[in-house]
Symmetry: C2
Subunit: 126 residues, 2 copies
DNA sequence: CTTGCCTCTCACGTCAACGTCAGGTTTTAG
DNA sequence: CTAAAACCTGACGTTGACGTGAGAGGCAAG
């Protein structure tokens, strides 16, 4: 399929797809006239890329991890890299859970404040 | 305290503190000569700001939520805003948990691949 | 053939949260 | 008093993942 269709199917912009190519994340074939042609598998490929971006990985990191997703070839280094990223994501989750709990207690305090009309201090821990 | 000490205590840069002021997140008093002077509470204040940044909130959003943190005054709108951000954070957590699990299964597959030396496809779902 | 949409390649613009440098003033230590 | 350290105000630079517009070429339909 051509770039417009892939964009429509994945929900990412045409510009983004060209950017992915620039970053060597998704390199399509070219017709004689220079138009990009993607296989059907590109749809899932793009979704994976998006997910990894959403997880906070950079293009460079994704590029480094792609060889595995592409040809299924694993090396110890690759596994280390994947594990490191997994741990990073895990760390982010922990942070965010803490923040969510903080927000929860702030909200609870605020709601109480609202009911009583009294100003009960809720700021940073302490 | 002056800006350098606050920076040292919080671990954020002097530049960042000046940026926070620019964004009206943390407005200190000024001496006659123009130097910034912060109260002790600014330390916790900065930490809260950092945490909210880390949670993915923008300066603008933080500014909107600050009135509560500053004077403890809650309004229904503020609580809605806080709840909305809480839900955003919760959504991010769910996403990241999914990604972590995806990474886990990829890693497991890769490790198995490595042991067997066989290429077992692990890519996007499907 | 031409209309119209899709695509191409530059290449500059954007946005957030600062980094960094320049050039000058204030505070502090000796 | 002097020198160093800390502070001040601009103001331009950085990074990542694109947005946006210009100007030109490609392709199926009438």
């Amino acid at each position: 399929m051509r770039i417009g269709e892939l964009a429509a199917r994945t929900g990412v912009s045409v510009r983004a797809l060209r950017y992915y190519e620039e970053q060597e994340l998704l390199v399509p074939q070219r017709s004689r006239s220079g138009q990009r042609h993607y296989p059907d598998s590109a749809v899932d490929h793009v979704r994976l890329i998006q997910e990894l971006y959403a997880a906070g990985l950079s293009s460079r990191t994704i590029v480094e991890l792609m060889p595995y997703a592409v040809d299924g070839r694993a090396t110890p280094e690759l596994i280390d890299r994947l594990s490191a990223e997994r741990d990073r994501v895990e760390g982010r989750i922990t942070e965010l859970v803490g923040t969510r709990d903080r927000l929860d207690s702030v909200i609870t305090g605020a709601a109480k404040n609202l009911r009583t009309g009294r100003s009960c201090r809720v700021g940073p821990t302490g």
